[in-house]
Amino acid sequence: MSYRPGVCTFCGTGCGHYLKVDGTSVQGVFPSRVHPVSKGRLCVRGWNIHELLGTQERIIKPYIKDSGQANYQDAIAKLVSALSSYKPEEIAFYASPRSSNEDNFALMKLARLVFKTNNISLQAESGHRNSLDVLYNGTGFAGMLGSLEDIRKAEVLIVAGMDITTQNPIIGSELHYASRSGSLLITIDSRMTKIAKLSKKFINIKPGTMRIVFDAIGHYIDKQQWGDTKSAHYEEYKKYLATVPFDSIEKETGVLPAEIAFVAERLVKAKSAAVFFTSGISGLSYDTVASIYNLFVLAGKIGKEGCGVNPIVGINNLQGSFDMGCAPDLLTGFQSIDDATAKKNFEKKWGHELPQFKGKTVEQLLADSSSPLKALVIVDHDDGIVKYADRLQSLPFVAYIGAFTNKVADVAHVVLPITTYIETDGTFTNAERRVQLSLKKCDNTFDVLPMWKLCDTIAQAAGKAFNYQGASEVMDEIASLTPSYESISYKLLSKKHGVQWPCTKKNHDGTKYCVPEKVSFVLPQKPYAAVQATQEYPYLLMLGKSQHYWHQNNIMHKTFIPLREYNATLLLYPDGYMAIAPEDAKKIGVRDRWPVKVVAEKASMKAMVMISDDVAPGTAYVPYFIREGIASFLLAYSDIVSQGEEATIPVRIEKV
């Protein structure tokens, strides 16, 4: 009887699994057949999670750079004295979207209460914050509006620019099942992804034109007077829609007006519809998310069963980490730090004043060479900050907290080991706001502390102990300070596959889909900026980041099968690849795996050709994970790269 129920902690789907635990080691994994989201399925990562959990590449002893291996007491003393010697503005905390809610809450408390800084942010956050901001501004609800459990209830399902069967395979599977049982599955993308192949309708758009396409659909609905005109800010939205280049839509986006009309009509006529887009590692821009959201408001697809505007996060607890206030301007549950009531609640509970100054994200602090950043605490780093390696090395103090060995730990002055998620209790909040409890399944053999306990120990050393007796007490504190988590406790979550917040005293069972009190259109902030190919630079280069997140992931390197699978592409194309259509390859005169030079206005790079039917003629696709090959190229275009999945650069491809 060694199979213990738990939650898979790779991606934001939050699948249910059973781990086969024998003493202190995990020998295998099996899917949970009754889990409401995964229903007995797992992906290649989930099926091999025991390889990661059994890895020996662990950090097992605290470490101080000057003196070598240490005990917790000395390492923590060093950390506390170092951090105390800087001003709060000079300290920052880099939280991990893989940590549990309890761990992240304890870290946030450590940053704000003990070290008095608001400089706390998440790795790989950029995309999801855009999604949350749009949804919050429109509905007051900072999370997925629909529910993964309801996918099969939607009549129309739209996947917007996301390789969902790679990034969140089980959500992709759910969409496929819905489509097979009658839902209309539409994929709008610039590449023929697997989900595009499985869709009943695939709309191939020019790279970087997602926003225009969604607005054009909105424009059509509005013109036909099919839309919901009662929501707030409708007039402004209508005015904005007038700026959509609808008459030249085919030229701008490659989409036929009939296709726009088809989606518009089916969307409006369906009883329920949901849209899925990537959010997280590299998501869509604020304006594009707003366009998608506005279309669903106009089509009347908010606040009903089977409906939803659904940002899909690629990392297991990214949603939960935002819920825990791991952002410079947020407290828990997306409460603003400027919200006087929330602030007062925290100050009353913690018995200290919260820091006053306006915090910055770690990315902002690292990118700005004139920022005051002196000391940085990094938790369980994945891949995001390697581009700031030089700045990182020049910092006077870096601390690393993590369970697995990691190159970033090499630059740290103090390293503090923690347990993996199965060696302590914790909750994780998946993409659909489902807070799931993962109970401790085995002891760790190295006597390392869970992170919530470590944060408490650090706080104690700094004279402000939290006095948690267990992770459940951390959750009790979270619940007391967070309206959307009000009723959540370990007792409520035990023997359950989680509950979806808001989970309040009136609503113990949680909330499947959001029914906002008031719905507003969210106005975009910038004008359209779709990039066009020119005669000199005839190809539109797309940059894929979220699709390849797992390829260079630190934890992937601790496994056997997933590592092999994710590295398969790298073995064939060791310096990275650029995917082009067969007819373009013929035109340029290259074959598969031949080198080419990619020339853009500001920079150029070398790449290996991959001939693929999945990209349309006139476009090229480069995965972001090839660090060596394209780093300098991307640096020259960092403003465009920051647009996330929509980043598009016109290039010329030369045979070498």
Partner: protein
């Protein structure tokens, strides 16, 4: 043949538990999922539904250390030790599909030129108690793959639930000696007939797909063997595969594995064997980078060639599929084996 009271089943399990590590079906108390795993005689549940995991992991674990070595730099000496697990194990209440799967694995690891010592040790001191399925489950189609609902061979003891009692049949000298020690009442021909009737009744209770025509799967085996399946059909199947490997992992007869070396904190190196799957791209890739089965549809059909073609059946002395239907449970596409059989049959009939 003996006839025992229902309570005596527990007595048998307890007696076996004293000599062997007991593996059997049990129901998880948190969410009610049934597993086949290490269990105490008190918790083993013969009435539990078909376990969601096959017993394959007992003899061929998901992840297993098969060798350890340590290099002594100074002495320039390597210590190598194979790692075996030969604890005596009993598989209690094995259903006939899973027993057939075990026989397939036996033929792969033991029945060919190379005998896998790691596997042989797992299997060497094993006692098998089979359990006849008097009621099939929704996804079952063992009647089409000649692997149920009752075990024909390969067990030491077979149990059949006759309603108010259990019929015991012995299948080996070991089984006979063990059962004789209890002094149970002998069963009569009448009770054997009763068992036959129950099996016949059980066969009528399968889903239509499996009972309408027993040639349901064999017709497709013929097609797969002769290769007359259109590329479009394989593409249709391949497009639905998200390369998770689940079908191979839950298959009672799949044997593919991967070997890796990993350093331990103690300074040794361990060679580990893990399950592998033909759906993975890295599985069929050659060292030089060439992949004879690169497109997903070429990889995906590999599984069905393995399970349904005659050339593979020669190796297993039977079809590679045992009709348990688990691949249909776990597949994120709709390409579990029963679905694939349906798609191919659809093509035959169109």
């Amino acid at each position: 043949m003996y006839l025992i009271k229902k309570n005596d089943v527990k007595k048998i399990a307890k007696a076996l538990e004293e000599k062997y590590t007991l593996y059997g079906p049990y129901v998880d108390e948190a969410f009610g999922q049934c597993f086949f795993d290490k269990v105490s005689a008190d918790n083993v549940d013969l009435n539990a539904p078909i376990p969601t995991n096959p017993p394959k992991h007992v003899v061929f674990p998901h992840l297993e250390t098969i060798m350890q070595y340590k290099y002594d730099k100074n002495a320039k000496k390597v210590d190598i030790a194979m790692v075996f697990d030969d604890t005596p194990k009993v598989l209690f209440g094995l259903r006939s599909c899973d027993l057939t799967g075990l026989q397939c694995i036996d033929r792969f690891f033991l029945g060919q030129e190379f005998v896998d010592e790691v596997y042989r040790h797992h299997r060497s001191r094993m006692f098998i108690v089979a359990n006849t399925c008097v009621v099939p489950f929704k996804q079952c189609f063992c009647v089409c793959t000649d692997s149920g609902p009752a075990a024909q061979e390969g067990y030491d003891v077979n149990l059949t639930n006759l309603g108010d009692s259990y019929l015991i049949e012995v299948g080996s000298e070991k089984g006979k000696a063990f059962i004789e020690s209890f002094g149970f009442a002998k069963a009569t021909e009448e009770q054997l007939k009763q068992k036959q009737k129950l099996i016949e009744k059980s066969i009528t209770m399968f889903e239509d797909i499996a009972t309408e025509s027993k040639a349901w799967a064999s017709r497709v085996m013929n097609r797969v063997t002769t290769g007359f399946i259109k590329e479009e059909v394989w593409e249709y199947i391949g497009n639905q595969c998200i390369e998770c490997g689940a079908c191979s992992y839950v298959c009672p007869s799949c044997t593919c594995f991967n070997i890796n070396d990993a350093n331990t904190i103690a300074g040794n190196t361990e060679r580990v064997r893990t399950w592998d799957s033909c759906s993975y791209e890295g599985y069929s890739r050659m060292a030089g980078g060439h992949n004879p089965r690169k497109p997903i549809e070429d990889r995906r059909n590999k599984r069905f060639l393995c399970k349904l073609s005659y050339s593979q059946s020669k190796k297993y002395l039977r079809p590679g599929c045992v009709g348990c239907g688990r691949c249909a449970w776990v597949c994120p596409g709709e390409i579990g084996l029963p679905n694939v059989v349906t798609y191919i049959r659809r093509e035959i009939h169109e």
